[in-house]
Symmetry: C2
Subunit: 349 residues, 2 copies
DNA sequence: CGTTGGCACTCGGTAGAATTGACTGCTAAC
DNA sequence: GTTAGCAGTCAATTCTACCGAGTGCCAACG
């Protein structure tokens, strides 16, 4: 970090205390009112002890350095993405309101059920807390091993392969055979599949029988259909809560359309969240994530871990003009609770 | 195709040929332009052979009888819900464009995979074809019987109950035991569960062992957690495609918000579709379905059957000002293809 | 020197008046 | 019964004037 030697020029990454205070005031005010904010309303802020005139001259500096922008000549200032970035980076981590804290505790004290259900509920919790659209991503089971495989006869030529993974995931695949399969064959195939696959991961290569009898064919079909799973999607699950909030939080119908269009593409949402996490960020503002249609959005993410391994993430999506402090606190607290929840489940049990 | 037995309005439910032609012209024009349509543009329609003045006098009659409405005194006419209803009831079933027909054929020639995946893809197909939001509902497995139950050890105190139903559905439930369970116990419980549950439906009462040993407890827990499934949701699956179309097709942001809010509540969507089907309708216009927030929408539904049993439905949701002919044709064709697809799967296999 | 009050200026937003034009309903003639 | 013509209505548009929020600049002040 460069020191604050010159107060002019060169966008050093640090602002002197007064500029920082003013920037913060502008952000807070603008988030509240959605309006450009002028020098006098900044000066009336309790933390700012100088006159509007001084504020004005500081503001031209902030604008020159790219932290603020002016919609038009005789309007107040609006924070730029860079301005928000500074604000967020220098935010002392907020604390949740006690009511919200209670809401979260209450929620995690009572959730039950399958992982998927918990994640979905969590997503709803997050939107209810923040009024922003939330995204919860559950990690795929690419690294987990097969616990059990079972072949079930739907009818003579139609079987269902049910695979259980060590992370509790269950996937099914239907298999159509070109010949009638007897229950005995199915049972035998099931037995062989178990012997073959238990303990392996999906990308492990296994030795399939090369014979041409019914059972061997079934086994081969089952293995291939199961391994075909891999490339499609890595099995990540995405739960999006409160898409309708998008329409409440953005004003332009076209923005709403663009954002919803993105949210519909779940794979894209996964990579968005993944990208942000990979960049080590907890917030991506405006164009930082590189998804153009979301350039008027900010995305907050917080990782969820199981046994210190990344196991997903929770996220919030709002306008760049969003209540970062509250939203970040919510995301963080919920992600921690979620992490603890899954750890707790392991431990109990 | 026309149904609607109730005819007890002050005016007869049938219009003379000229009024019908004029109404149709108004609907077509309004659907195209989204603007109130005036007498002269109606008169210039090829099917209308009278002068604007005559059209005007017919229009006052149509307005008196509730088929048209005037936004304000010096504006053209707009169809009312009743007007759309008449239009739809007297629509000769449209034919799909050849390009679209090809698209559908192509699609159903190549879809593969699990029922859920097919339904989801179908939903995307429908939105792509029509540019409206689509809803595909897959029937729940409340009537199907248990084909197989399996208990899998996640760890000593943590089991997973995997149940396969005759319709190919697979559901899982985790079970936490208050004691360590040996693999032998799990296998035995699994065996007992199979004996107990195979062939039953979810609402059947079964005789559970009353002993207090580990295996019996496991069995009891498993049965109760499985039967607890029932009340929550009947297992219907809903696939909604193109929610973002909502933002394209409606103009008011508040309408968008309301409609999205409804779409988020999947249970509500299921009952909406169910209600409309129960009323025997294929289209619900405006307030006909009784869901107030959707009063500016029209919903088109077409049933999907398996073995002549209702097995779900496909639907399209758009503004009352929607292209009924095309949309209805699309819904119908797709539902038929879907019905045939599932029938075909049974047959092959 | 930095800070401040004062002042002229800019420009978006709004309110009202005038205008337009797309309709209508009515009526009298065909 | 149909039509042409005409007067009337009213939303939408345009224009104008004006207001006021907010700026940049500057001179004065500690």
């Amino acid at each position: 970090m460069a020191r604050r030697a010159t107060k002019e020029h060169s966008s050093t990454d640090d602002l002197d205390a007064r500029k920082a205070t003013i920037l913060e005031a502008v952000v807070n005010e603008h988030v509240d009112t959605a309006q450009p904010v002028g020098s006098s309303s900044v000066a009336s802020n309790a933390d700012v002890v100088v006159s509007p005139a001084t504020v004005r001259s500081e503001m031209v500096a902030l604008e020159r350095d790219g932290y603020l922008a002016q919609p038009h000549t005789s309007a107040g200032r609006v924070p730029t993405d860079k301005g928000y970035r500074y604000f967020v980076d220098h935010l002392k981590s907020g604390v949740l309101g006690s009511a919200q804290q209670r809401q979260v505790n209450e929620f995690f004290a009572h959730v039950r059920g399958e992982v998927e259900d918990v994640l979905e509920q969590t997503s709803l919790l997050l939107t209810k807390m923040t009024s922003y659209t939330s995204v919860v991503v559950g990690a795929g089971h690419s690294t987990s091993t097969v616990l059990s495989v079972q072949l079930v006869n739907l009818d003579a030529r139609h079987q269902l392969l049910v695979t259980v993974f060590s992370d509790g995931a269950v996937v099914k695949h239907s298999i159509m055979s070109g010949f009638d399969v007897s229950p005995v064959d199915v049972a035998e195939a099931s037995r062989q599949l178990n012997a073959l696959l238990i303990g392996t991961t999906l990308d492990a290569r296994v030795q399939v029988p090369s014979r041409t009898d019914h059972v061997a064919t079934l086994v081969r079909d089952a293995v291939s259909v199961l391994h075909a799973e891999q490339p499609t999607a890595e099995g990540e699950q995405v739960f999006i809560g409160g898409s309708s909030k998008v329409a409440e939080v953005f004003d332009g119908v076209d923005t709403v359309r663009k954002v919803l269009g993105i949210l519909e593409q779940e794979l894209l949402v996964v990579s968005l969240v993944q990208d942000i996490l990979n960049q080590g960020l907890s917030v991506a503002i405006g164009a930082e994530h590189g998804y153009e249609p979301l350039s008027s959005c900010a995305v907050i993410v917080a990782p969820v871990t199981i046994d210190n391994m990344p196991a997903g993430a929770v996220g919030l999506l709002g306008p760049t003009r969003m209540k970062y402090r509250e939203a970040m606190a919510a995301a963080q607290v919920v992600s921690q609770h979620l992490t603890r929840h899954f750890a707790g489940e392991e431990e109990r049990g």
